[in-house]
Amino acid sequence: MEHASYIISQVINGLQLGAVYALIALGYTMVYGILRLINFAHGDIFMLGAFFAYFLISRFGTPIYLVFFATMAMCALAGYFMEKIAYKPLRNAPRISLLITAVGVSLFLEYFCSLKAIFTPDYIGFPRPFEVSAWNFSLGGIDFSFTNVQVLIFAITFFTLALLYLLVYRTKQGTAMRAVSHDQETVALMGINIDHTVSLTFMVGAALAGVGGILYGIAYPQINVFMGIMPGIKSFIAAVLGGIGIIHGAVVGGLIVGVSEVIVSAFLSSTYRDGVIFVILLIVLLVKPSGLFGKRIDKV
């Protein structure tokens, strides 16, 4: 039973990490759905979210619930300007130029923020707004425990996802988003403002990444301006894994990536954890190129 409870606790840790990946993956999947753009700068919005939260907590002593709203607003603003300044002028250019621009934006955000006058390139301890405590449970002889950090992460992620579902499937704006991802030209003829819809998508995605940044800071309390690179890439892989452009696919993909990463670190070696994701990705892409939840497409 010792062994079983160890596995369960590792799975819970994996879900904790996976929830953060899921939040980032949603932004990737929504932007890709609309513009067919791998927005490499998305991981850096996640980093900005963590830093905004850091400054709000440590400099201004903002209460935690306000931190969430303020960070989401600031990240949404960052996403809005990113799209307006860098991506909009290239909307009709070849997609590869857009991708290179996204890499440019990503590098700019990282190195601009690592300037001494901005966030500095050092690791900074993230101030946890509360003490960590754990609750122990026993189910059928298997012991396991939840920390309050994990409960917070699951609750916030679940709540945010519910809001996102309402937005995408129950509002006019959400319908517009889904329509634009199907056929931009027809949608424009129907009198839907594509520019507004794209901006909104970027803002929602950025806000979700911001939430991910705060949660990541609370769970792994060390932040750095380059912290967004690997989670960014892994989240994109998660989005592809679940089927790009599909919201629940991104969530499931994120959880799979998070859990497998933690399990491999726990049972093999933490240095192999980045490799296993590729193996999973490769298997999924070869068996089902459109991802776990993707519809069959003839030409991908």
């Binding site: 890709y32 067919r36 791998i38 860098a86 002028p89 290239l90 909307r91 009709n92 250019a93 070849p94 590869i96 130029s97 857009l98 290179i100 621009t101 890499v103 440019g104 934006v105 990503s106 590098l107 700019f108 990282e110 190195y111 601009f112 690592s114 300037l115 001494k116 690179i229 890439i233 994109f236 892989i237 592809v240 790009i244 070696s269 240095t271 192999y272 980045d274 490799g275 994701i277 590729f278 193996v279 990705l281 490769l282 892409l285 070869l286 190129p289 030409k299 991908v300």
Partner: protein, 314 residues
């Protein structure tokens, strides 16, 4: 013999460039540092040409080119170190070994992943890049010589201007000829329309695999040259950003344009290293703030590459 006759103008041009560079180097007009950068430019151009064959000519999107560059570098460095081949005359053999290793790995990995298209292929190659990085990080478990995450140290410095120049020019001419050959025609067909190419009887799977392996072979040779130039390899030299570097050069030069790749390689490396010299040391941090901004502006100004006649949107 026909090979040399047909490309005699290029060879003459290359010889001219070589004489100018050699004069600059041997009279000490340029510093040791600039000499190294000059050799590095050739290496980058060679690797970027490999990506150009894969992406620019055959249309197979790869975000993991640096992985093959790294495989070539590690293979060659390992061979030289374990077999004690520390003479310039053995270098061509180890360069070839590095290239062949990269090409073989590309062939094995290409069989499954080249079935994917566009961004999905990009993500698969990106993932492969991460996997290779993980492998390099853990390579000290296989052999202590490889150094793992501490880096591969103590590689003999063998790369000089002559060998880099000859290898790069030779492979560029071979690539040019290959592109205008029957196979090159097939590659370009596949880029334009894969389904149509298959329908006129082109074996698209084989042709794609061939282009991918050849491109990665070039990257492997370039990586081997790199290993013996800087004498130190670290897994972080071959990560995602390096792949992006090659991609930037291909895009700036214009897809499917070898001359463009050469110019873009010279300009890109020249600009990055030039800023290091021009900027005063107290604002050196700003270098990587300027570079992405320049990149974004270039993309807005010339989305089809610097050498392309097409301007602006559309």
């Amino acid at each position: 013999m026909k090979f040399f006759l047909e490309s005699r103008r290029l060879i003459l041009l290359a010889a001219g460039i070589y004489i100018v560079l050699k004069l600059l180097f041997s009279f000490g007009i340029v510093s040791e540092y600039i000499q190294q950068i000059t050799i590095y430019v050739f290496i980058v151009v060679l690797a970027a040409t490999g990506l150009n064959v894969i992406y620019g000519y055959t249309g197979q999107f790869s975000l993991g080119h640096a992985a093959f560059y790294g495989i070539g570098a590690y293979t060659s460095a390992y061979l030289v170190k374990t077999l004690g081949l520390d003479s310039v005359f053995a270098l061509p053999a180890t360069l070839l070994a590095g290239g062949i290793m990269a090409g073989l790995v590309a062939c094995v990995i290409g069989i499954p992943i080249l079935r994917l298209r566009d961004d999905f292929l990009g993500i698969a190659t990106l993932g492969f890049g991460i996997l290779v990085r993980v492998f390099f990080d853990n390579s000290d478990r296989i052999s202590e010589t490889l150094g793992g995450s501490r880096g591969f140290t103590g590689i003999v410095k063998l790369t000089n201007l002559e060998i880099t120049f000859v290898v790069t020019v030779f492979l560029l001419i071979v690539t040019r000829n290959l592109i205008s050959s029957r196979y090159g025609l097939f590659w370009r067909c596949i880029k334009d329309d894969e389904t149509a190419s298959a329908s006129v009887g082109i074996d698209t799977t084989r042709m794609k695999l061939m282009a991918f392996s050849y491109g990665c072979f070039l990257a492997g040779v370039a990586g081997a040259l790199y290993a013996h130039l800087y004498t130190f390899l670290h897994p972080s030299n071959f990560d995602f950003l390096r792949s992006i570097d090659f991609l930037i050069i291909v895009i700036l030069g214009g897809m499917g344009n070898i001359a463009g790749t050469i110019w873009a390689g010279v300009l890109w490396v020249g600009f990055i290293e030039g800023l290091r010299i021009v900027l005063p040391s107290n604002v050196l941090d700003l270098r990587w703030v300027f570079i992405p901004l320049l990149l974004i502006m270039l993309m807005m100004w010339r989305p089809y590459g610097l050498m392309s006649k097409k301007k602006g949107n559309g």
